[in-house]
Symmetry: C2
Subunit: 472 residues, 2 copies
Amino acid sequence: MTNASITPLIMAGGAGTRLWPVSRDSMPKQFIQLLDDGLSTFQATLLRVKGEPFGRPIVVTNQEFRFVVAEQMQALGIAGEIVLEPERRDSAAAVAIGALLARRQDPAAVAVALAADHVILDAARFRADCTSAAALAATGLIMTLGIVPTAPSPAYGYIEPGAALGREGASRLSRFVEKPDEATARGYVGRGFLWNSGNFVFAAATMIEELERFAPEILAGAGAAIAAATVDLDFVRLDPAAFATIPKTSIDYAVMEKTEKAGVLAAGFDWSDIGAWDSLHAVAGKDAAGNVLQGPVVAVDSADSLLRSDDMLLTAIGVKDIVAIATRDAVLIAPKSEAGRVKALVEQLKRQGRPEATEHLRMYRPWGWYQRIDLGARFQVKRINVKPGGKLSLQKHFHRSEHWIVVRGTAEVTLDGQVSHVHENESIYLPIGCTHRLANPGKIDLELIEVQVGSYTGEDDIVRLEDVYART
Amino acid sequence: MTNASITPLIMAGGAGTRLWPVSRDSMPKQFIQLLDDGLSTFQATLLRVKGEPFGRPIVVTNQEFRFVVAEQMQALGIAGEIVLEPERRDSAAAVAIGALLARRQDPAAVAVALAADHVILDAARFRADCTSAAALAATGLIMTLGIVPTAPSPAYGYIEPGAALGREGASRLSRFVEKPDEATARGYVGRGFLWNSGNFVFAAATMIEELERFAPEILAGAGAAIAAATVDLDFVRLDPAAFATIPKTSIDYAVMEKTEKAGVLAAGFDWSDIGAWDSLHAVAGKDAAGNVLQGPVVAVDSADSLLRSDDMLLTAIGVKDIVAIATRDAVLIAPKSEAGRVKALVEQLKRQGRPEATEHLRMYRPWGWYQRIDLGARFQVKRINVKPGGKLSLQKHFHRSEHWIVVRGTAEVTLDGQVSHVHENESIYLPIGCTHRLANPGKIDLELIEVQVGSYTGEDDIVRLEDVYART
C-alpha cells in the first residue's frame, strides 16, 4: 500500500459515431456537452480526478484533437501532459504509453485508466472506489472497475468475479465474457456478474510487467514512440514510425484476459458509457413526462423522449419513446429502442459519401473555428472566429478570391507581404493567387465573414506556406 | 344550358398553418411544391382549368401574395386577372367579387370557384364534372362539387343530397352538416352523404341574386371595392375602405345554407384538401414500404411515414406512421395520427413570439428573394437574389452599414445619386445613412452576399424613398 497519489490516465482519442449527428469524426462525443452541466464528458472526467487522491493527469488523444483537448483543459484551469497519437489505435497502446510515462515520473506510480466519454455522477464514491482499488493495485493487482448491472443489458461485456480479496466489493477476476444476448445476460446478472466498464486501476510497474509478458511488441512500440517523441507546443507528439508498429488491440485482449493478476472491484457509483442516444436519455435530467429536452425544443403531449436541437426550432406532437436530434445540417429520428443502430446508419452515410457523416459544419482549428453559412455554384460564405492571439497559416489559393468583412474585433491581414489592420465594419479583398495570412492581434475574438468566389471553393485548395501550429 | 366557357375563379388568399413548418403565413401551402410534379397546388389548379371548357381565370388573393401569384402564373404561361384583397376575408368576399367580375365580362357567365390548395389528380374527370355542373348552373342552380367519402372522416363537413336532378350524380342539396365525430360520420357515409369540397359551379347572375337576397352588405361592399379599385402593375387592387365593410364569413354561411337553389354533384375524381401532413402522405407517391420521401432523406427500416426535408439531411431508423418535416430553421415530428394538431402548435409558437411560426427564412419580394444566412449580436448576413430587371427600393438605414459582394451577375448600384456597376467578385460599401438602390440590369439572376454591420439589423430599419413596386 502506498500513500502516493493516483495518476489519472485519460483516454480521449476515440471517434464514436453512435451519438451522430452530434458526435462525428471531426468532433467526437467526449468533447461535446451532452448533459446540462455545461461540460463535455472529457471535462467532467478531468474534474472527477482533480485534487486528492489524484495527481497530474496524462491525457492520451489523437493528434487531430489536440487543440480541443488543450482548450477544454485550459477552460477548467487544469494542467497535464497531453500525449498525441499519430493515428488511431485501440486501448492497449494508450494504456502502455500511459503506464510508461507514469513510471517515468514515479517508479511506484499507481494509475487509473479512464475513458473520457463515460458519465459518473457520484464523484465522492468514485474517489473512494479508486482509493480502494489503488490500495489493492499497490499490492500488484490490476483492478478492473466493475459495475453492478441495473438491467440484463446485452450492450456490455461482463466480468465474473472470483475469490474475495478481503476488501469490500473486491475479488479476483475469474473471467471476462463477451456481450451476451439478453437471456444469457439475465443469467449473468443472477449470478452476480458485473459490467466491464473498461476502466482500470494498476501500478504502472505491474502493467508494464504484464505487457512485457503477454504483449511485448506493444510495450516495445510504446517505448520507442515515447523515446523518439517530440515536444510540439504543449504536446508530447509520439513518434509516428514507432507508433505504427504497435498492434491495434484492446488492453482487455492484450493483457486483462491473460494475466493472473486481474482483480475486480464492484464499484458503488452509477455509470454510463452513453453508448447510444437512449443511454443519454437514461442519464439526463427529465421533465415530469419523462422527456429530456435540450436546446430550442417545443414538445406537446410527448413522453419519455429525448429531443435535442443545437440551433433550429425542434417541435414534436404526441411522440413517445423516441429520440430526435437536430443539428444545423442533419437530423436523426428513431425510436429509443432503435438508437443502437445509429452507428450502422453512419457507416451507410459514409459509403454514400455524405459529408455530414464525418464533418461538422463548425470546424475547430488551433486558432478558433470556421463554419460554412452558405454555398453556391461558384461561391461559399464562411463565418470565421479567431481567438485573441490566433494566427492562421500563411496561405494561397489557386481557384478562388476572398472578401473578408470584419464584423467584430480587429484583423491583422498580411497580403503579399504588406501588413494592415482591418477593423469592425471594414473589408479587404484578397485576389486569387495572392499570399495572405489572417491574425487576431486584439484582446477580444475576431469575427469575420469570408465570401469566397471562384470556380472551386473546396477546403483542399490551400497551399500553406508557413504555420505557427506546425501544419505546413 | 350554355356553350360559353366556364370562368375559373381561383381563391388563393388563404394562409394555412396546418402544413407548418413548410407552410407559413409568409408563404402558405398553395404556393409551395408539395408533390413531386414540380408544381405548387395553385399552379396545378391553374393547369386543371386551362383550355376548353374553361375561360380566362380570375385569381383572388391577398395583396401580400401578389408577386408569387404573378410569378407562378408567368412560369406556366397562363394569363388572367389577379385581384388583390387588401386584408384577409373569408370565402364570401372572394366569391362575391369573382361573381361580379365574371358578370362584368359576360352577363351569362358561369363560374367555377376553386380553392387553390386542393389536390385533384384526374383532370379529365374534373373537366367532365365541371361541364356537367355548369349545364345545371346555367339553369339557375348553384352546384356544389360533393366528394364521395373514402372513409368516415371527422375532418370534413358533409352534404346530404336531396331529390335527384335527372343528371348522373346530381341532386338538390338537402342540407349541410358540420364536421361530425367519427361515429356520426359513419352514419353519414352509410346514408350517402358527400364531403363538402368547398368548390362550386354557378352562373354569376344567380350567385349575385342570392347574395342580394341573403347577404346584401357583402354584395354592396364587393361592388364598391371593385368600383373604386385601382390597377397597379398587372393587378386589380380592391379599394381598402370599401373592402373593409365586407363581413368576414364563408360563402357556405352567407348563401349556400340559405338558398333554395343549391344543388350537389357527386364528383367522380379523387380529391384532397391536404388539410394536414397525413393527407399529403395519403396523396403522394410512396415507396415499397409505404414511405413518402421528399428531399435529402435517408430512411432505414421505416414504413408508412412522410419524411420531408428542404435542405438538410434527414435520417430515420425504424420509424412507422410518423411525419417528420425538416426546414432550414424548424423541424416537426409527430405520429401521422396527430398531424391534425399542427395548427394548434403553431398558435402556441405564435403566442411565444417565435418568428419561425409565421416567417420563412427565405422571403420573396417583387424583385426576387432574400434569405438570412447568419446572424450575430451586431451583424447579419443575407443572400440576395435579384431577377433580371428587378429593382429594389431606393432606401436608407439609420443603424447599419452594408457590404455587398456580388457572387453572380452584375449589380447596378445607386449610392447617394451616383450609379455604378458591380460585377461578379467585386464589392461595394454602403455607409450608414446613405441612400442606395440595388438593381439587376442584366440577363441572368444577380446573386450577392450582404453583410450588415450595426447596432440594429432588424428588417424595419428601412426608409423607402422610392419604389417601382409602389411599396413606399
